[in-house]
Structure formats: C-alpha cells, structure tokens
Symmetry: C2
Subunit: 782 residues, 2 copies
C-alpha cells in the first residue's frame, strides 16, 4: 500500500500542462481557445481579471490527489484556501468531467472549453474566485484565513473521509489559520476523518514576501512538529520529477494516517502528516516580462502577468509563446477533447474531487430527531413565577438531542467560552468535550470523540461550524454575546455563501448556522465593560432578508421553542439571544408556542386599561422584558389612569414590513400591537439602532422611542448598569409617562419622582455593593 507510483509521471505532467493551459486561457482569452490560429488581440478578453500565481500549485496538488485517490480509493474532499486560484480548479473540474455533468454547455470538448474560458470572470459567468457555483467547493477563499478550520469541520464524524486542505502562505499569516494548526488535537483518529494540510510556500503575496516563505525547512519542520504534525517538505524546485515526489509524499501520508488509526490508543498524541509544498509563484509563466522584470517565482506573477498585452505587441507575443509552451495541440484532439492518457489520470468517476457528495452537503443532510420540548418545558403556572435559567433548560433538551444523535453523529455543539459558563453543563452528562491530546489528571468530561468542542477561539468554532454544516450536518454555536463580533466577517462570508448557494440549482439547502448568544451584556456587570457588546446582532441585520433571523426569547419556554425551530430550519443564519441567569418565567409552553409562531404579541395580562392605549411598552430580550414589565407594574400602581399596552417581541424581524422581510408581521397584526399614532417606548436588548432599522418603513416609525445599550458600562450591579444606559424600569416608566403625551402635571411630577427614586436606588447599590432588594427580588404581581 505504501508502494509509490514513480512511473507514469509523464502523463501526470501532460495532465498538468492541460490544466495549466486551460487556467491561463481563462484569464486571457475569449476566443481562439485552443490557439488553432495565431493569437490576435481580438481573442483577448477586454478586461483581464484573475490570479495566475497560485494556479499551477493548485493543479499540482489536484493531480497528486487524483493519483492518490486512484491508487487507494480514498474518499477525498479538497478545501482550497487560495480561492483566487479558481481557474486551476475550473480546469481540473472540466477535465474530470464534473463541469459537463452539471452543465452540458461545459462539455469536455473544444466547445465546452471555449464556453468555460469565456465564462470565467465574465459578467453573468463564473466569478474570479471560487464560489458555491463551483462543484466540489465548500469554501470560497476570498477572505483568507478560514480554509483550515473549515476543513477540520468537514472531517469531523466522517472517519472514511480525507480532507486535503491547501493553505496559501499568504493565508497562513492570518491569525485564524495560525490558530487552526492546533485543531487536529480535537479530532479523534477513530471517529473522525483526517485533514491533510498542504502549506503552499509560494513565496509572495500581492507584492510582499510571505512570512512562511521566508522560513527555512528546519523552522517549518520545528514549527509544525511542535503543533503536533509530522511535516514533510515537497520542494519542486529541487526535484527532478516533482510529480513522483508528490506522489510519494501523498502515499506516505496516507499510509501514516492508516497506521495511526490502527496504532493509536486514547491518551496518546495523534500525530498526523502534513505537507509543505515549495513551488515558484506562477510556476511555468515566462521568466521575465517584456520590460525585463522577472516574473516566475516573483510577486509579479500573482495576478495577471504580462498585463500590457492589450497595448504592447511584445507582451502579446510573449503571451502567445507562453500559452504555446504548453503545446495544447499535443493535449487536445481535433475536437478539443483531452487525450485519453490525461483522462487515465483521473480517479473513478464517483471519487473525483468535484463529486465528493460532502461538497454538496444539503444532499446528505437529514432532519434532526429533535426531542419533544414538552418533556423539558419549565412549569409556569402564572406569569412571573419560578426561578429558572433559560439556558439550563435548553441545555437539558440539547443533551437529549446529543443522545438521540449518538449513532448518527451529525450534531455538534461548538463553544469558545465553555458550556459550563453558559449554563449548558447538562450537555456534559450526555457526552464529553472532544479532545485527543494527553490530559492533566484533574481534567473532567474530556475525551477523544466527545461531541461538544471547546476552544478559546471563536474563529475556530465558526470555521468548524461552517465545515460541518456545509458537509450536511447540524451545529449549535453558543457564545458570549460580546465576543461573537470576533467572527463578524466570517458570518458575512457565510451569509454570502448561503445567498449564492440558494441561486445554484444543484445545491441543496444545508442546515442553518445557529448561534446561541448568552452571557448577555446586561448580566456581564461582573466582568465589566469589555464583556458588554450586543453589536453582532446589528451586523446580521445588514444581511439578506432570506438569510438572517434574530430571536430574543425572554424566558425558558420561548427559548426551547426557538431553538427547536432553528435546528429544524435550513439555509439561514439564526441568531438567538437568551439569558443564562435564573429568573421568573412568563409563558407556559402552549403560550410560548403561540408567541413564537406569531413572532410578537400583546401580553394581555400585563396591559392596563381598555381600547387603544396611551402608550405601548414594548420589549425584546430577557432583561429588557423584566424592566418593561416592572415599568408597567409601576405605572399600573402609581398612574392607574394611564392606559398601557405591553408588547413582547421574540422575533425581531417581525417588526420589519412584510414586503422587506419574510417574517414581517402583516400590517393589520402590526397595527394591533402598535396602534397607529400611539407612542411606543421600546426596551431593547441591544443597540437602539437595531430596532430603528427593523421598523424602518412601518407607518410612523419615528414614534418608536428605543431604549437599549448606549456603550455605558463597567463592573457594577445589574441595576446600575441598566440605569447607566437609561434602560431601567424607572427610566422606562418615566419615558412612557412623558410619551403618553397627556400633558398632565401629575404625569410630569411622577416621572421626575421616578427618576429621583432611581438615583436613590443607584446610591444604595453603590453603598452596599448590591442592588436593593426591591430591585434584585422584584417579581411580577408581587
């Protein structure tokens, strides 16, 4: 099995020549694709948009993997970090016939190649980077940094899958990639697949040398060995037969992986192979451009070398000479079909890199066996009773889901700041934290193969989640609210991937990406200012309406219902914000189901007065709901003549006009909650701007007076934190009195009195170090 295929590499070289040729053609040509006639300017694309530098390396790896798969039958998925090398991937997909399978216009002949070449970087065609439109792709690779983490996510719970991951040396400089090298410590040699990273030391980024390209073999070997790998350098610049060298390296890696799986025992290090590929940037491009500047092996090969072809005859001649150096006439027959010896380099059809089913994960996705929430619901005999932690209740339900998927192994919980801290510890009764390296004696609930993963890296959790979901599985990502913003840009990119995927006919929808933001800012009064930040929500609101959902369940049962619905959904990014602190409950399960289905609604039991109210007290989020209810109670007692309606919003986008968001309440339902011209004092969990953006386009949107987080905070008491942001019950009640607009002195006086009482309460909290009992122990109806 470890026998190396050193013969026959001439055909591999021919295969690579064909791919390199096709890739270069994609960047430059719109016509005369196979150079059957002399190259003339009208054969060139008017705009040359693409990146050559990384392409030959990608094809070199592709060709090597083809050989490995052919020899071993190993199911292999390739995650390509340098997504700007899309032409190389297209060339390989065309040659292996995957393009033709999904789109007959891209047939494996001259017509198909011409079409592919024309479509690349052309309006309405293929983008210049990888994208969901490209078969075999689960990673776009435009925003660099996440290929490796994504690869690990794809490999989890797929013991028969090899995930090769090409990491550019530019991308390697990113923090998220640097942190990802340790991720193999989380994968079990028994129950997970294996990631085979290939660091492509290509030497240059856009114009700077790369950090990893400047490290010598000894440094690279030490670095990766220390990170837990068995690295091997494949240096094509020092090889007589680069393809033989690569074949040998891949075969040996494959054998080492198999051996590890046999040999490894829990408690041991699971050291796995990885490759460092050294090849000249732009490998194969002319040595110099028409001006005499060096090209091959330099930064000038990064994007479009010979960029002056449109104006400079010498460059055009150089381009023709370069393209002809691949001798396309030796590679393609009269009809433009690749010669048989090239096709003989391919693995069997079902194992070709573009066709591995995991790359279209929606096809593999199965609905989760979601436990009945009724078995886990909090008992709520009346609003305001009980003392329950919403996430604790959710944790028990999630633990049952982990048990129910024990055999299927297609649900994971990925958590940067630890389940215990988010009160999801019940999960650890159902499974362990997965970790494969040797452990200290005092570690608890940690073992290889555990189904929950904890790592102090939001980037890793996000990359893992993306890889896991896009290969057909399900995941939950609980996170401290303030630190979810660490992955803002990764969410942006995932939202883009989902949006385009939805436009690709052959892509099936994958499971939604579900965030559970807890350890919310309002209860981070102990950790202080850095832990108070609800901005992740705002970022999600900039995404397409088809993708983004924001839920703020105010208690345990609404959280259960919301999580159940999110985990059953596909194609979305669901943001669920929920508290972990024990508190009173508002809705029994039946009411929670109704409320969540509606998205928002009047809480009759908390309203006061008949008919259209003087003011609506609206709320969204656990803590704001308590404050709004307390404000309603204050008003009922101390200003009984003011009529107040209380509306709770669990689905933030229910506030949006129905023509702007699919969850938007119909106009009449909205008006039933917020009667026209009645002022709304809104207690909101996050930045006020989020509610303002949600209600934009509703009639009289400016009557929504939103209280929320104003970037005021420190280590203090919960009530003091609310007051600092003008979100306390006293602030809400005073504002409601003002907005009710009755113009009565009594209201004005009471509002002033409330604010003075508020200040007294704050003074007491500062004196005693705790909130006064009347605040800390306040209960609805008490």
């Amino acid at each position: 099995m470890t026998t190396t295929q050193t013969s026959g590499t001439e055909a591999v070289q021919r295969y690579r020549r064909a791919c390199d040729y096709a890739a270069a053609a994609m960047i430059y040509l719109r016509d005369n694709t196979l150079l059957r006639e002399p190259l003339r300017r009208e054969h060139l694309k008017p705009r040359l948009l693409g990146h050559w530098g990384t392409c030959p390396g990608i094809t070199f790896l592709h060709a090597g993997l083809n050989g490995l798969v052919r020899r071993t039958g190993q199911r292999t998925l390739l995650v390509t970090g340098p997504g700007h090398g899309a032409p190389a991937v297209h060339a390989n997909l065309w040659l292996e016939g995957t393009h033709a399978e999904l789109d007959p216009a891209l047939s494996r002949d001259g017509a198909g190649l011409a079409e592919l070449v024309r479509r690349f970087s052309w309006p309405g065609g293929f983008p210049s980077h990888l994208s969901p439109e490209v078969p075999g792709v689960i990673h776009e690779g435009g925003e660099l940094g996440y290929a490796l983490a994504t690869a690990f996510g794809a490999a989890m719970d797929k013991p028969d899958l090899l995930v090769a991951c090409l990491v550019g040396d530019g991308e390697a400089e990113t923090g998220p990639t640097a942190g990802s090298w340790h991720a193999s410590k989380y994968l079990s040699p028994r129950t997970d697949g294996v990631v085979l990273p290939v660091l492509h030391a290509n030497g240059y980024k856009i114009s700077s040398p790369t950090v990893y390209g400047c490290m010598d073999d000894e440094e690279l070997t030490a670095y990766f060995s220390g990170a837990g790998w068995s690295p091997r350098v494949v240096d094509v610049t020092r090889a007589d037969d680069p393809d033989a060298l690569m074949a040998e390296a891949l075969d040996r890696a494959h054998a080492e992986i198999a051996e590890l799986r046999e040999r490894w025992r829990p408690g041991e290090r699971a050291v796995r192979p990885m490759l460092v590929l050294r090849s000249p940037k732009g490998w194969g491009v002319p040595e110099r451009d028409a001006g005499g500047d060096p090209l091959e092996g330099t930064f000038r090969a990064h994007q479009v070398p010979l960029g002056a072809v449109h104006e400079d005859d010498d460059e055009l001649a150089l381009l023709e000479r370069w393209l002809r150096s691949y001798r396309p006439e030796e590679l393609f027959d009269a009809d433009g079909r690749p010669h048989e010896d090239l096709l003989a380099q391919l693995p069997p059809e079902h194992l070709r890199l573009g066709r591995v089913p995991e790359a279209n994960g929606g096809r593999l996705r199965r609905d989760l066996p979601l436990p009945d929430v009724a078995d886990f619901a909090a008992r709520v005999p009346a609003p305001g009773t009980g003392s329950t932690s919403p996430t604790e209740v959710a944790g028990r339900w999630l633990a049952e889901l982990v048990r129910a998927t024990e055999d299927r192994r297609d649900f994971r919980v990925l958590c940067p700041d630890e389940l215990e801290s988010n009160k999801l510890g019940a999960l650890l009764e159902a499974t362990d934290r997965g970790f494969t390296w040797p452990l200290p004696d005092t570690a608890e609930h940690v073992a290889p193969g555990g189904r929950v993963l904890e790592v102090l890296s939001e980037h890793l959790c996000q990359g893992w989640a993306q890889g896991y979901l896009l290969t057909g599985r399900h995941a939950l990502f609980p996170c401290y609210e303030a630190f979810a913003s660490i992955v803002d840009s990764m969410v942006d990119q995932h939202a883009k991937f989902l949006k385009i995927s939805g436009e690709v006919p052959w892509r099936e929808p994958v499971a939604s990406l579900n965030y559970l933001l807890t350890s919310e800012g309002w209860r981070q009064e102990h950790n202080g200012y850095s832990h108070q930040g609800p901005g992740f929500l705002n970022n999600l609101l900039t995404k397409k309406a088809a993708t983004a959902r924001v839920y703020l369940p105010p208690d345990a049962n609404t959280l259960l219902v919301t999580l159940r619905d999110c985990l059953a959904s596909t194609g979305r990014i669901n943001l669920v914000v929920a508290g972990k602190n024990a508190g009173a409950q508002w809705l029994d399960l039946e009411a929670a189901e109704r409320h969540c289905a509606a998205g928002a609604g009047v809480w009759d039991w908390a309203c006061h007065g008949d008919g259209d109210p003087d003011v609506v007290l609206a709320c969204a989020g656990g803590v704001p709901t308590v404050e709004a209810l307390a404000a309603a109670a204050i008003l009922r007692e101390r200003a009984p003549e003011v009529t107040v309606r209380v509306v709770n919003v669990v689905d933030l986008l229910a506030l949006a006009p129905a023509d702007r968001h699919p969850h938007g309440l119909p106009d009449d339902v909205f008006a039933a909650c917020f009667p026209q011209d009645v002022p709304v004092v809104f207690a909101f969990h996050g930045y006020p701007s989020a509610v303002r953006e949600a209600v934009h386009g509703r009639p009289g949107a400016d009557r929504f007076h939103v209280h929320g987080y104003l970037e005021e905070g420190t280590t203090t008491t919960p009530y003091d934190l609310l007051v600092a942001n003008r979100m306390s019950r006293h602030d809400l009640a005073a504002d409601a009195l003002r907005r009710a607009g009755r113009g009565v002195d009594r209201d004005t006086d009471l509002a002033e009195r409330l604010l003075a009482e508020r200040d007294d309460l704050v003074a007491a909290a500062h004196r005693d170090g705790v909130d006064p009992e009347e605040i800390a122990e306040w209960r609805w109806g008490a």
Copy 2:
C-alpha cells in the same frame, strides 16, 4: 551582567506573599482587610466578583521583572494578557506606590489597602478586569487574543524598551495570538525594542484544559523555535526556588537580547528569547474546597474558589485559613505599611512597572509635522476634470510625512493587503517594508527597520496600531474595505478603551486610530462578492459619539484634507473611505477645505433650478457621487423642468442631529441642504441603514430614500454591480423623478424609459464584458 541573583529570594517570596494576599483580599473582603480580627461574614463582599486563578502567576512575573529592572536598569513595560487577573496587578501597583502617587486615598498603608480592597469590583470602584483606570496598563485583556500584538506595537521604534507580555494559555488558543508569534520577524534589533513573551501554561481555562497546557516541553520548544524564538521553560512545579529560577531566566533573556543587538547583521535571523511559565492554576489556594473537590492546579481555581463562603461555615473557615497562610502580620506593620524588605524588591521609582511613561502614551505624543497638502493637491480647474487616483495622491503626501518623521520615528503605516494594491506605493519610495528575516533575492523594498509594515493579518495590524498609538505615536491603517470587519471586535474594544481613558484624569489623549478603507466594494467587481462589504462603517456607528468619525471624501483633495485632519486629531477612531481608482475630480483644494470643514454641502454647480428643489440628490462616497452627479445630469438634460439640488456629504455624522453628535450640522444648515418636506434620494457608499441611523432624529427623517449596497454582487462590470444594488445613475434618476412627486405622466414615462435603458446597458456589458463607453467614460459636463 549575566550574574544571577540567587540569594535574597526569600524577600521576593515575601513580596509575592504580600501581593497574593492583597489580591485575594480584593476578591473576598470589604473590611478587616489585614485580618486583625477573626474573619466574619460581615467582612465579606456581598458579591464575590473576580478571578483568582491567574493572579499568583501574574505576581510571580511582576516580582521577577522587578528584580530584572533593579539589577539592569532596563526600562520595562508589562502587557498583561489575562486582564481578569487585575487583583494581582493592583496589588503590585499598590506595593510599588504607583496607586498612591495617582490617588492619595490608595496610600501605601492600611487605610490605602483597605480602600483598594473595597474598591475592587465594587460599584463606582475598579472594574474586575484591567482597564484604563489602572496605571501602567495599555491593554484591557477582557476580550482575549491581542496582548501579544499590542506588545509588539508598543515595542516598535523604542530601542531602549523591553515589553514583557504575559500570554495566558487560554488566550494562546485564539487565532490572533497564534498569528502574533511571528510578529518578531518584523522588528529590527537595531531600531525597535524587544518583546519578551511569557506564555503562562496555567493548565485550564474556565473549566476545560488548555491546548498549550496539554503540550509537553518538547512540543512547546519545537513550536516556538520554529516560530523564530529561543524558548526556555520556567516550571515552578519542579523548582526548589521558583524565584531564583525566574530571575535566572530573565537575566539570561536580557543578556541574549543585548548580545543579539550587538551581533545581529541585516539578512540574519533575529532569534529572541521567550519564556514558558508553568505554574499551577490558583497557585497557593487550598488544595481542596470544603466539599473535597480539588482546587489548586485545577479549573476550580479559575474564578472565585470557595464560592460558598456566604452560606457554608466550612468554606468560610477555609477562606480564613487560606488568607492567614500568607501571614499578613509578618508582611505589614501596625499601620498596614509593607515592611522595608518588601519595598527593597522594587526598582527605582521611575522604572517601576506602573510608571513607565509609555503606558500613558498621550504624555509622550507629539503633533506630527504634517506636510502642507497644498504641495500635493490635485489640479482641478473645473468639476469633473482630470483623471486621478485619490489614494495615489494621498500616498505621495504620506510618503512626505514618512520622510518628515524619519528621525522621530513616530509614524507608521500598517497594511494587511499591501500598499501597492491600495495604490499607496509612493510610500515605498520614502521607506521600505520593515522585515527582519532572510528574504528571497527577488524581494523589493523590504528591509529591517522599514517604516511601513505589511502582513496578511488585519488582527496583527490592528494590535500593532493599538500598541503603537497607546504608547504615544501615530499610525495609519489602510485596508481593503470588506476585510476591515475582521477587526470589528478589536475596534469595539479600542473604542471602549478610549472612552474610559477619557474619564481618567491622569490619562492624556493619544493619537486617533485612523483607517483608510480603500479597494472599496463598488470597485471590487473584479474580485467579486466576497470582496464587497461595507459593514465596518455600520459597526463604528454604534460607538460613542465622542469617539467615532466616518468620512467619505469623494475625490483626491477632500481625501488629502481629511487625512491631514484625522492625523492631527486625538482620542478618536476615524474611518476614511476613499477610492483608489483613477477618476474625475470635483473640488480644488480651496473648495475641498471648505467642504470638509462644513462636513456636507450643496454643490451649486451641479444643481438645477432655483428656490427649494423638487428633490434633493444627495451622495456620500466616491462612486455614489459619480452616480448621483450623472443622475443629476440626466435629469437636467431630459427633465429640465424638475428642479434638483445636489448635496455631497463628506462627514457622515454631519447628518446626525447636533445634540446627538458633535459633528451634527446645526438645524438651519441642515435645512439649507435638505429643505423641510423635500424628498431626498440618497446615493450612499455602504448599507442604507447607516444613513438612516445617521439622520435619525432629524425632522422628516423618513423622506430620506437611501440607495446603497444591498448584498448583491459578483464578478462583473462596475455598472452591472451598481445596477444589481439599484445604485446606478439610472436607478437614482428614476427614483428622483418618482420622489419629486410632481404626479406628471411625463416623469413616470421618463422613469420607465430610464430603467429600460439601464437594462439595455447591462445587456451590453454582459455581451461585451465591459461597460458601454457612455458609462465607463462618462464625465460631468461632457
């Protein structure tokens, strides 16, 4: 000089006992601070908020550094990654007298200690984490991951400064930290200071073991050697005299650094020392809690061990025994003053860790010698002339600034995606890219000591910038617009640091953090969807009005003026969005100065008709300005009876009401731009929600109809990208006709015709691969 101080470590141990005692007291006590009487429950804080686990390790390092500084006179700044270990830092600052210097209430006696202990984690007191309120601190350490990058920024251009950086093993798991280990390759042994990282292998995070804690010495040594360090393990669990071991390690590191500075020649590796500190988590806490669970060396020591002291007599007794184990009566005299032998452990006053001037960088900051923009301004004889790249012009001015600061060395440009690519290449004529490792032969403009830094890591650039600014220098961070969101959360934290700094009387304002977002989404039609994302701007709008500024200069001269003003400012986060593509210019320098000073204004030359207009065409950002002007031209020609006012907004927050933002236009000036009740069609560079948020609170805010980025995009032509987002001139003109509300059939017909023409133009772009000449070559007035 390399002689190790192995005697006298008993006094060091006593020093540490005093600090450990004080730190523990801060977490638990509100009274009876020195345990002069038996510990009773009323001496306890009602809420126990703090983190013990990391504290003893922080003090161990502090004590070691004190010794090093005492012995060598080395100016040393400490960056503490685990900011939750604030009690240890406070204890050391109190003991070294820095607290007393800045606040007499924190005197170095029993009264001062009692005050410090009471203030910690108390409303109105010190927060539970490090913060700007703490002397010597330039890094808050709440959101983990950035200590190391910040330390490197602080060390740059400070050849006499040693920046010790404690990195927790939790923090080490983050991507940004993992990527930061390579940063020393960017520092010159000649012209920069040195970072001495200390990886604290403490074993556990909140409840999980850490990745680095699970690596053995061999792995850690290989890993850090590979990354370019000379690592040394300081394992207190295997040392008879931990302080002697640490002293020796620090002395040796210091000697190695001095030797490297002597020996090193350009082109050589600059391998520097670092330490791995292994110590038990919570070192010194009782072995087990009252329930028998292990504490010392386990995750249970992370936060508040013996958390049940309020309810459980055994835990209370254990706490007392633990606190008394430090024998405070041996460390403090009758007045609570630390004994002389403890004070003898401190460095000379001016070298104490809390007093290094760099930690209050505003005091060191000098105004930049900003070159006169007049010497660099683009010639603009009339609006719509020339063909200039705004960033190219800015690059020449910035190059001059680099020259002007050559000797001062207090201005740097930090760039993740390369200056050349952002058309700031002129900088490379004034200086090199700083890089110290061996280089490939073909590298250009790269050398140790170069003043611009390029690394494919937004996290590193941001951390560097923070460290550089907070120690009194100046920086510019140019970035691809879409990838600035990678540092959303870091900006959040920096904004918080600035806000609190502004409230600390002894902190002087530091230079603003200046972003130049270029390679803007509208001209990323070639790189495609992943490169199109203006969300960084939205995030900044959630920050305090005193901190956040957003500028969208539409051409070269407005960019020059904006950059000059930003680089002269302090205490802010300035976001400047500007194009790099060559295009027509609108304002000569004089007009640009006026326009930028106003923030927004009517462009008379582009208006059409007298008196109040039928519609205002507003614009912000380079590309939207072109489209709005083109729309105005279309309307002038084809609907001359519609009166149109054109308003350009260069300072986005000029739109905000003056009582909400200091840059908000006065009401009358705002009304002069946007007359009451006149509809506004707004062509905006980013997400429409940003403008809606900015104008919130202005009269009739809902008459602002904002066109902007709608998350539609791919690789295509610039015009097609605009149309996909309904931001083309045709969309704007048609919308303006509709909104003008004249109810004339002619307007409706023309609007429809315009959209049909738009669709024809898109079809032509799809056919030809380029935008039709009338779009691509459009010029104002032509």
